[in-house]
């Protein structure tokens, strides 16, 4: 397939490619240029998939809390058991480490991918803004309710705590939706960056069966 297309003259070499060929793989190659680009490409790619991993971990752990913990916060005795069980470590320890790490990873991804593709820059910036929003939501909405449920004395009627748990869960649905949106933005960015940083031989090798406009190159 590739050999057949390679004889074709119907695909013109785009100017950017020919320009690169002259610069990097012409008669007089510039030493180290390919390696530097490869290194930069790897940094860009790693800095985009690290936030994807951390965001998905955050989504997984948050879903776990919503699906497993929240339904059990029914009634004062259950809250007492919850407080007694989480003596050594509590979920806050986990999220207070993972959320800032995710924010830092997103910031690093944004910095490393600031220049090359404007759309990717804004997607990553959007994901970072959404995760800052998650932090704000956690501090202003969930923390006061956490204090009522898990720290303050349980002296109010059960209906009051039920109302607080319902609000907490509703806020968590919003948090999950925001994290999910951030994951989509980062995944799309990562796909775009993976394509943008593809080694030359992968750009040339089309296994998807579509027309390969670069295959005519010698």
């Amino acid at each position: 397939m590739k050999t057949a297309i390679s004889q074709s003259t119907q695909y013109a070499t785009p100017p950017s490619v020919s320009g690169r060929m002259e610069k990097c793989s012409g008669d007089r190659p510039i030493p180290g240029v390919g390696l530097a680009r490869n290194w930069r490409g790897t940094i860009r790619l790693v800095s985009s998939f690290l936030p994807l991993i951390l965001l998905s971990m955050l989504l997984g752990a948050s879903s776990f809390q919503l699906a497993v913990d929240t339904p059990n916060w029914t009634g004062v005795p259950a809250l007492e058991h919850y407080r007694a069980f989480y003596q050594v470590l509590n979920p806050g320890t986990f999220f207070q480490t993972l959320l800032p790490t995710t924010l830092l990873a997103l910031l690093a991804g944004l910095v490393c991918n600031w220049r090359p593709i404007p759309a990717t820059r804004w997607r990553l910036a959007g994901a970072l803004a959404l995760m800052i929003l998650v932090g704000v939501l956690t501090f202003t909405f969930h923390f006061p309710r956490n204090k009522i449920l898990f720290v303050d004395p349980l002296t109010r009627p059960a209906a009051y705590y039920h109302q607080i748990v319902t609000e907490w869960a509703a806020g968590d649905y919003i948090r999950l939706a925001v994290i999910g949106t951030a994951i989509v933005l980062v995944a799309v960015s990562m796909i775009r960056i993976a394509r943008d940083t593809a080694p030359k031989e992968l750009r040339d090798a089309d296994t998807s069966g579509g027309a390969n406009p670069t295959a005519h190159r010698p």
Binding site: S56, M57, H81, V88, N90, A194, R195, L202, T207
Partner: protein, 172 residues
């Protein structure tokens, strides 16, 4: 809609979610299981409506389904990607095997049976549970790496024509 890429991306997201919950259990839940029998009584008192098993019985098969879908959709184009995805699916299944063979008997002791064993034995079982969870995390992490590398390869392989040329490297 590029089914090859979409199925792999969903498989990545789900397998990392599984990894995240596994780490959450190791970091947050497992240390609190020490101090039996009171810690286990508190856990049983708290998990009265739902328990972690209910969550994993949805997420783990869901992850395996999307790994299988990604494998089917990417069977032909790139042999290396096929084997990476097959490896990830095998590791996810192995993770479930560890759950059924190793964790379920310990779950029964810790969360269902009568707490008549000596406290030291219960703490030992809780420690074993936590160690087994590290094995599970290692398996899922390896699967995540395999699916992630596959996703990058598939993204590059399915790039539309303009993306094959639009390397910003040329603009720098």
């Amino acid at each position: 809609m590029n089914l090859r890429l979409v199925s792999t991306t969903i498989a990545v997201a789900l397998s990392v979610m599984l990894l995240g919950t596994g780490i959450y259990e190791s970091v947050v839940v497992a240390p609190n299981l020490q101090g039996a029998p009171s810690s286990l009584e508190y856990a049983r008192g708290f998990y009265h409506a739902t328990n972690p098993g209910m969550f994993f019985r949805v997420l783990a098969p869901g992850t395996q389904f999307f790994l299988l879908l990604a494998l089917v959709c990417n069977w032909a184009p790139i042999p290396l990607t096929r084997w990476r995805l097959a490896g990830a699916l095998a590791l996810a299944l192995l993770g479930d095997l560890v759950t059924f063979k190793f964790h379920y008997p310990r779950n029964t002791i810790l969360f269902s049976g009568s707490l008549t064993l000596p406290a030291a034995d219960l703490d030992r079982v809780a420690r074993e549970w936590a160690l087994g969870n590290y094995v599970r995390i290692a398996l899922i992490f390896t699967a995540v790496v395999l699916v992630m590398v596959s996703m990058i390869r598939i993204a590059r392989d399915t790039a539309p024509g303009e993306h094959r040329y639009s390397s910003s490297a040329g603009a720098r």
